[in-house]
Symmetry: C2
Subunit: 344 residues, 2 copies
């Protein structure tokens, strides 16, 4: 059985997603593309050699496309809620780019509808589908670094001033939705969706014509003397690394932690902290990818996400174990709280 | 002219310091050692092959030792103030391990006395003397990464519970004095001693019988939408990395940022953030060091500090440009503020 994809939105991320699907051509096929601008849709189809697919110049037509098993929503943030709700109403499974919605209310409504309709609804946190993230879950489950006391992660690019969709409120802009969400999903990965949060402290600044969140330092305090320190920015270049710090060692995910090919496991000796044992584990990226075909330099890792969604569809699940509905709800709850603190 | 050193304290760091001096044997000579425990002093002299030096079993005798040009104070934190004041009174130049004092009042008094006596007084922030730190100063001065918006640094070892001097108030314990000070000097290095601070936010926890500061997440907000995010811990293993994040690029100092042999300079292109140019710069550690002679695995970098102090002495200066009195005052002021916030 081939998974037949319909693509909503003709931006860079949609382009990279269809290039990733080509790397999985035996199980996946793009059957339709939709965008609001006829020229962009045609250009998109040509650029990605998708001449045999149905092209639509409005989203509703693609949502009704009978050939498509699952819709990929790669449009701007502010459009996700309406498109996903319409897609679910039309009986379509959905993979929606993060952030799935702009508020807890939106995400709750989307998940409720998916459950009511028994349709797959998956937030596109592609990080979770990388082999490195799966290794990390296993390591944490096996207590490899003792009790996790602290996690730290950062991510930032000086792009807010120059990127319209990030600096405009009407497009669901602000850096929390764009990069902060990666930090928050990492927090939820390590400490769980039911983490006993004592306090969230946020300091940073807004920028641009709509005063949207630009940079933030976030400390999340947990019961039992544990905490997370997160940092994001839309006005400076950050290393995008993460570390999970335990009483007996550490897991480091080097640049770029949100789509990693490797990690380092450091295990402390019991006698002194000076002679740790470090092990670097590498998962080479998909080898047959042509980086030139991709807009972003690293997005062929979307193959892991596409395969995860296919697995869920084949097995008849409405969410992927890699990133569950419950986790999506926790991520948006935390993003709501963080954004409220920035906006005051 | 040979710089003749008197060593106060026979702990691990003093041992590594004298091993470093051996690597500089043409300009430096250890002439005396003092400790309060006769057995430890004798053991120390034997272990480090210092049979021809004067051994003292009280600090006053060494302070009065005429042969010594400069005293290295490597004793526990709580003894620094008294020993440094006595040494200056006796007309001796001093290199004192960090933290020089336990409060602003102490450090101010020490510096005032050094000035009054025209004697060198240097806080032992060895990091500052590494070639990597000197490169970083030059890069920042030359605007290599644009405007610095954010810095981030972390450092931690799960050692507080098992290390008496860290968990006891009477010894000047707590992790701010042990590792937090490295983060703070890094802040002062990048933003300067006159950085216009708007707010300091601290969250963390205390531990041990004396409830001393164990772990802390620190955000320092500066005028002009800039900030520092610092993280230290005495109960978890942290990577000890630092990054300086600018509008046009980034300087990364990998593990261990407080005694680094290398750094990475990333310069962003002007058109897109995806194709940065990264350059790794390595300063190999002193090659003739035998790591087995050192307690800590990396302390032969103390040679840079010893050479810096010798330069200042030869030139007749009372402070080193690598870490000035003004900077020492700023570090202790910030440590005071941070510790007050932790203790509430």
């Amino acid at each position: 059985m081939i998974t037949r994809w319909g693509i909503l939105g003709c931006g860079h991320i949609s382009g990279d997603f269809v290039e990733s699907l080509k790397l999985l051509s035996d199980g996946h096929k793009v059957v339709a593309i939709a965008g609001r601008c006829r020229e962009r849709v045609n250009e998109f189809a040509q650029k990605h050699n998708l001449c045999d697919v149905n092209l639509y110049y409005d989203y509703d037509s693609l949502i009704d496309e009978e050939k498509a098993d699952v819709l990929y929503v790669g449009t701007r943030n502010h459009t996700h809620f309406e498109l996903v709700m319409r897609a679910l109403d039309a009986g379509k499974a959905v993979l929606c780019e993060k952030p799935m919605g702009l508020s807890q209310d939106q995400v709750k409504a989307m998940i409720e509808k998916a459950k009511a309709k028994s349709l797959l609804l998956q937030e596109g946190f592609w990080s979770r589908f990388f082999p490195v993230y799966k290794d990390i879950r296993r390591l944490l489950d096996s207590n490899a670094i003792g009790e996790v006391k602290i996690i730290q992660a950062d991510m930032g690019f000086p792009i807010m001033a120059s990127t319209e969709r990030l600096s405009k409120k009407e497009y669901g802009g602000g850096m929390a939705f764009d990069v902060g969400c990666y930090l928050v999903q990492f927090f939820v990965l390590v400490f769980g969706a039911d983490a006993p949060i004592e306090d969230i402290v946020v300091n940073g600044w807004t920028s641009g014509p709509d005063n949207l969140d630009d940079s933030a330092s976030i400390t999340i305090m947990l019961e039992g003397n544990r905490m997370a320190q997160l940092l994001y920015s839309g006005s400076a270049s950050l290393g995008a690394r993460a570390q999970i710090c335990g009483t007996k060692g550490r897991i480091d995910i080097p640049e770029l932690f949100f789509c990693p090919n490797e990690y380092n496991l450091t295990v402390l000796p019991t006698n002194t902290f000076m002679k740790s044992v470090s092990k670097k584990v590498t998962h080479p990226p998909t080898t047959n990818a042509d980086p030139k075909a991709f807009h972003f330099g690293f997005t062929h890792g979307l193959v892991y996400e596409a395969e995860g969604v296919r697995r869920a569809l084949v097995e008849g699940n409405i969410e992927c174990p890699e990133m569950t509905h419950n986790e999506s709800l926790k991520v948006i709850e935390l993003l709501d709280r963080i954004r409220q603190k920035i906006y005051g």
